[in-house]
Amino acid sequence: MSSSYLLRRVGYGLLLMLGVVVLNFLLIRLAPGDPAVVIAGEMGGATEEMLESIREEYGLNKPVLVQLWIYVAGVAQGNLGESFFFNQPVAKLIADRIGPTILLVVTAQLMSIALGVFLGVLAARKPNGVMSAFVSVFATIGYAVPVFWTGIMLIILFASSFPIFPVEGMQSVKLRDAAWYVQTADVLHHLILPAFTLAIIYLAQYARLSRASMLEVLGSDYIRTARAKGAPEKSVLFKHALRNAALPILTVAGLQFGNLISGALLVETVFNWPGMGRLAFDSILRRDYPTIMGVLFFASAMVVVANILTDISYRWADPRLRGKS
């Protein structure tokens, strides 16, 4: 893989992020409602002088394009601004939350790919079998059910009726001073329901996709040849077939990363998961422009990085693409 290709991909990614920043900045300002009034409302009311001083302090009395220029210049220097609501640097608010979001999204991504592909491969072995029918039904349900509904149902089932898992949050506050391994186990315990909720829709997609992809590959000549040569079925399935069948899965995995992050917004809200999604949701309601912009900037950066990594892994998986620009 040439370094010029990589540089070009990174360059496109940066341009895309600049576009995201500008577009989001303008779109957010189209929403009705004045952040100064929200801050005043949170304070319990205010005089006109206080409202003016709030607008002055946050630069809201400047023309929108001037505000945009100040913001873009700040971002270029690594400064995401200060939250209107919390009076704290946006970078700090995001830094506090990016870990939980990455943990949730990556776990959900891995869970959905691993389980989805496994189910898809099993289904592809017997296209008219029970497993295949199960995968099809499961995929349909997975597509159809809203993620927040799944979350609420899982909470009712596994946190209320049968309290096996915690209902919300990422950690039991009463275990804050426990040993690291106890805390790690506690986080994993909290992670299972939200990660599964987020994974379920994509799990279904991967299962269906890998089933279709495997069916196509399993019908090809080289698989027939491998079987004729007496290769064990496990080796045929997972070594010969899956590697080729994985290409579309990798593409979809990269594309789905953005959807996963937007899905995380809902899941984090339902499970009170302390991540960026919840911060974004609350910031939109509060018209906390710098925080919304900061979260969107980071989310777009994560999607761009995920897409670049997908491209790289695509080339790794398919030698025919190496050397092509």
Binding site: D96, V167, E168, S172, I284, L285
Partner: protein
């Protein structure tokens, strides 16, 4: 024999007393669950319950209040009000220190009062304060331009935290001071961690100036935005105390949990009122007869008993009914549709009219449900009411603050003394476009202004009560807004917790006495 019987009786009583007395557990952690997010933790420049609960644990204040509206010593061990009401002297304790070890002095008290006066949204709290003199380190003398009956209440923990001058006096804007998110106070608990919008962890202050307190080792305030998840957390014991619970379903559900106690005490000071406000300058609503007709059409009894399932109380005037200044006005608008229709006809609207109602997005049962009920109820007097939802608070606040509304449901707090939380809604001088929770009804009555001006400086409680009685009679006649009910705030807590604050400020009060029983 008589002596023996008495001794045995005394022994039996003593044994009984010992057996029933709770055994207290040392220290422990209290987990408070809340849906309310604090911007920061400095109550000197920020009102609201979300900030006040942690702020009153971190910062001490000159006075604290009991459940009978009586001031109690706190940082001020005693206080005197001069006969003319223009001087209030605070005699401070001499053993109070901030969490960083620096002593709390009269300079800090003076700095805090003047900072709060300049920066807190409730301007009326300290408006008459001209200066705070500090003749020695433990005496603060508050000089007033006029008598100020609300002053002592304004020195409560929720409204007047004593902030350290050596930190906040560095010239930075106090409203956005970095220390607001990492405050140093002299209260019973010290800040360990503040993760904005997620969790606040407070540790016991080992050098608290009241011996033997606080009892708890730690207080953790967890933000759980989803009320359903919060309820399950309370049921499962993941959280121990849930204040400001206002939904009837929530209250009824937690009442079923054996390990939880529920109380409606602790909200008299905050005085939360749910009301229907009128834009009195609207062509359709400027005639008082239309507003009176609407008031006659609404059934408070139905709202509190059916919509709120009996957990809320009727509110028949602008001052919360639990306040010593409340009186039942002569006109309380008991439902009378005939009278309402007659008034509509008199006002020239016999053929009816179209109106629009807004409501704060938030507590659905208090706002949206009532607005929808009003739609069907007002149809009976010929009003075709359109319920206009707002997607979020900024949208609603923009409409109401900008006077772009006809009717709106609203929730407004009294904040203890009428001077602090009531006057703002009715004074002609407080009609301020763009400012939410000002006089957005644009109601102006010179007589009301005159009465409120007198009540604001009257130190004699009985004379003040008479003034407020007159005010409430006028408001009942003019109906710039129609009060419906007091918000049914309740606190749910683990039955093993003792001394949960149920005074006038509830959990916006130092929890230095709260402890776990075994």
């Amino acid at each position: 024999m008589k002596l023996m019987t008495r001794l045995m009786g005394a022994a039996a009583i003593a044994a009984g007393t010992l057996a029933s007395a709770p055994v207290f557990a040392e220290g422990g952690t209290l987990v408070i669950a809340s849906t309310q997010v604090a911007r920061h933790l400095n109550g000197a420049v920020q009102s609201g319950t979300a900030t006040a609960v942690p702020s009153t644990q971190i910062f001490a204040s000159p006075l604290r209040y009991d459940e009978n509206w009586e001031p109690q010593p706190y940082l001020a061990k005693s206080w005197e009000v001069s006969d003319d009401g223009l001087t209030v002297t605070l005699n401070l304790v001499d053993n109070a220190t901030f969490h960083d070890g620096k002593p709390v002095t009269s300079e800090d008290v003076a700095f805090s009062i003047m900072t709060t006066k300049e920066n807190h949204p409730f301007k009326s709290m300290f408006a008459p304060v001209e200066a705070v003199e500090t003749p020695d380190a433990h005496t603060a003398i508050i000089k007033l331009s006029q008598p100020h009956p609300a002053l002592l209440l304004a020195l409560s923990p929720a409204l007047a935290p004593v902030i350290p001058k050596h930190i906040y006096g560095d010239g930075q804007d106090v409203k956005s001071h970095p220390a607001n998110s990492a405050p140093v106070g002299s209260g019973p608990f010290m800040l360990e961690e503040f993760k904005a919008g997620e969790v606040t962890v407070l540790k016991k202050n080992p050098n608290f100036f009241i011996d033997g307190r606080p009892k708890l080792d730690e207080i953790i305030i967890r933000i759980i935005k989803d009320p359903s998840a919060l309820l399950i957390a309370m049921e499962n014991g993941e959280a121990d105390l849930y204040p400001f619970m206002a939904g009837s379903q929530e209250i009824k559900r937690l009442e079923k949990a054996d390990h939880l106690a529920i109380t409606a005490d602790g909200y008299a000071g905050i005085g939360p009122i749910n009301w229907l406000a009128f834009n009195t300058t609207s062509d359709k609503l400027k005639d008082v007869r239309v507003r009176q007709a609407i008031a006659y059409a609404v059934d408070r009894d139905f709202i509190t008993k059916a919509l709120h399932r009996g957990v809320s109380q009727q509110q028949r005037g602008p001052i919360i009914e639990s306040s010593p200044f409340f009186m039942v006005p002569d006109e309380t608008y008991d439902t009378d549709l005939d009278k309402a229709n007659a008034l509509m006809a008199e006002a020239g609207f016999a053929d009816g009219m179209e109106l629009t109602i807004d409501y704060i997005p938030g507590p659905k049962e208090q706002q949206q449900s009532v607005a929808e009920y009003l739609k069907s109820q007002l149809k009976k007097i010929g009003i075709d009411l359109t319920v206009r939802a707002a997607p979020d608070f900024p949208t609603w606040a923009g409409r109401v603050g900008g006077h772009d509304f006809e009717l709106t449901m609203d929730i407004v707090f009294n904040w203890g003394d009428p001077v602090i939380g009531v006057h703002r809604t009715y004074l002609c001088s407080n009609i301020r476009k763009g400012v939410i929770w000002s006089n957005t009804q644009q109601y102006c009555n010179e007589k009301v202004d005159e009465i409120l001006a007198k009540a604001a400086v009257e130190l004699d409680v009985e004379k003040r009560k008479a003034l407020y009685a007159e005010f409430q009679q006028i408001i009942a006649q003019d109906v710039p807004l129609y009060t419906i009910n007091s918000l049914p705030y309740h606190t749910a807590y683990d039955k093993k917790l003792t001394n949960v604050p149920t005074g006038i400020w509830g959990t916006m009060h130092p929890m230095d006495m709260v402890e776990w029983s075994e």
